[in-house]
């Protein structure tokens, strides 16, 4: 039971609004040292357990460096933004007469979910798609639809743009058989002595995918109305 204190450290650190990086390192060290306590280590053994845990954490940290490859998009996106990429996205959508923020995001949800289901998850994403293109387009559509928009409305639109990218990705990608989560499920079950086909697992992600499109789609369908209500009241709704 003692090793569960590591989880408790994460929860407590979060509740106390400590920096998550600090919380994570402390949780890792607490877990590693307490595992040694459970095993009945003496004082020297505890120090060794702490050092070993740090080394284990460091090795895993090094193995997981690939997260940073995504940041390679930043110089390109920054360079294009310098030349007016966001402004161009706004102009483009301003010409589409039927465009509103809600409808635009609904179309994006459909595209994001469908392409993710085909395994094309890298078509979207926050640094390369949402910040430079989707959010400015949604803002441009709202400006065309409603005229000048308040900062409050602008931030609501940006939040919803990011949310729509995430939801489309999460509830689309599992339909693709070669995605990480499906590989993890198949591998986990195999270790437990249960053989399942990846295709069989991904098939059962479809009902949830359809439900997610309906649920978030309905919210986006009413999003323009929500924005107008926000504008009318001049604040929170």
């Amino acid at each position: 039971m003692l090793v569960l204190l590591g989880i408790l450290v994460v929860v407590a650190g979060f509740a106390a609004r400590l920096n998550p990086l600090l919380t994570i390192v402390v949780a890792a060290l607490v877990t590693g040292v307490l595992a040694a306590v459970v095993a009945g280590a003496d004082a020297a053994g505890l120090w060794r357990a702490g050092v070993d845990t740090l080394a284990l954490f460091g090795k895993a940290f090094n193995d997981n460096r690939y997260f940073h490859i995504t940041w390679l998009v930043l110089p390109v996106i920054g360079l294009l933004e310098r030349e007016g990429l966001q402004e161009r996205a706004r102009m483009l959508i301003g010409r589409v007469r039927a465009a509103t923020a809600g409808r635009l995001l609904l179309v994006y949800l459909l595209i994001r979910q469908a392409t993710s289901a085909l395994g094309l998850t890298s078509l979207g994403g926050h640094p390369q798609m949402v910040r430079p293109l989707v959010a400015p387009m949604a803002e441009g559509a709202a400006e065309k639809d409603q005229g000048e928009i308040s900062d409050e409305t602008r931030f609501r639109i940006r939040g919803m743009a990011a949310a729509t990218d995430n939801i489309g990705l999460f509830f689309g990608e599992d339909i693709f058989i070669a995605i990480g989560s499906i590989v993890l499920i198949v591998g986990f079950l195999e270790q437990a002595g249960i053989k399942v086909e990846a295709l069989h697992v991904s098939l059962w992600a479809i009902p949830t995918a359809i439900a997610a499109f309906v649920v978030h789609g309905v919210r986006l369908w009413f999003f323009d109305r929500t924005l107008k209500a926000v504008a009318a009241k001049g604040g929170e709704v």
Partner: protein
């Protein structure tokens, strides 16, 4: 063949450029802190494999000390103003989208090529293919943009540094959580959670077991920031022994929907930095430092409904097929 190691060198050089430019930037609000932070990430990318476990652990402690003991400011390098950008956008036209589109096209095309063609297999290494292809796409888009736009030499690194600063220490969070997951795994936290849950809550009917598994997936994902970390723990604790073995649920259905219940948790947690905190920073949301920022609040209603839907679907499908 292009492998992860080549991509790491490229990323390392980029962070090195960020660090050097930050060091030279006298107007930076937290010049030394940011220089060291991006500099240490450059060290990790360039030399991490040579540092060994403990060396990397000490590197992590230094990064945490830098990121956690004070604010990380955002650089304001000279760039184009709002009017200038509108004027340039009109002049450049829709061709401005092309370099941005090169990135996903090469990422997807490269992934498919590496899987299905001999040339692709020869060009791109077999592990983390998509990320290598993504890096390749960035490189091609970068040269295309520079050749066409002819910006000042330092502009790409300066603009990249501005965006990287706005992301700040959150850039490190996914990697840190994955490492914490490794420590949890080594200490068998999963097995202990399983014993604890089953001894405290009497899961006597299929519905109760399904609810405990789905809600457990969501909650543990909220703590760990990642459904992948929650899945082995909660499935070994409740999913397999109870929902599958005791009540006869279909393992493929239980696991597929259980994972998606975990994703509902991802939508609700600031620990999932790359999905919920990074975009709030990139979009300059005023509440980006709050626990439940604008992105999470926009997601919360959908996530709550979808958790109920997943419980309903698992209960309706797992015992029937």
């Amino acid at each position: 063949m292009i492998t992860l190691d080549h991509a790491y060198v490229l990323v390392g050089l980029m962070f090195l450029a960020f660090a050097v430019l930050t060091a030279l930037d006298r107007s930076h609000p937290t010049r030394i802190r940011n220089t060291l932070f991006w500099g240490l990430i450059a060290v990790s990318m360039l030399f991490g494999a040579k540092l060994g476990g403990l060396g990397n652990g000490v590197l992590v402690l230094a990064l945490v000390a830098l990121g956690a003991t004070g604010k990380m400011g955002v650089a304001k390098p000279a760039t184009t103003g709002p009017e200038e950008r509108v004027e340039r956008a009109e002049r450049r036209g829709n061709a401005l989208f092309l370099p941005a589109l090169i990135i996903p096209v090469v990422a997807v095309g490269g992934t498919l090529a590496a899987k299905y063609t001999d040339a692709g297999k020869w060009l791109i290494g077999p592990t983390q293919t998509t990320l290598i292809a993504l890096g390749l796409g960035c490189l091609i888009a970068f040269f295309a943009a520079v050749a066409w736009l002819r910006p000042p030499v330092s502009a790409p690194a300066q603009e990249g540094r501005r965006l990287m600063d706005s992301i700040g220490w959150a850039a490190l969070l996914p990697q840190m959580l994955a490492s914490l997951g490794a420590v949890f795994l080594a200490s068998d936290v999963g097995g202990v959670v399983g014993q604890a849950v089953t001894s405290v809550i009497p899961l006597t009917t299929p519905l109760l077991a399904v609810i405990a598994y789905c809600v457990g997936m969501a909650l543990f994902t909220i703590v760990m920031g990642n459904a992948f970390a929650a899945f082995p723990v909660m499935t070994a604790a409740i999913g397999l022994p109870l929902v599958v073995h005791q009540f006869g649920g279909d393992p493929a259905i239980v696991c597929a929907i259980g994972m998606l219940a975990g994703f509902c948790g991802t939508l609700l947690t600031p620990m999932a930095a790359n999905f919920n905190v990074v975009p709030a920073n990139l979009l300059d949301l005023p509440d980006r430092n709050a626990a439940f920022n604008g992105v999470i609040r926009a997601q919360a209603p959908t996530a709550a409904v979808m958790l109920l839907v997943n419980i309903g679907l698992m209960y309706a499908l797992a015992f029937r097929f």
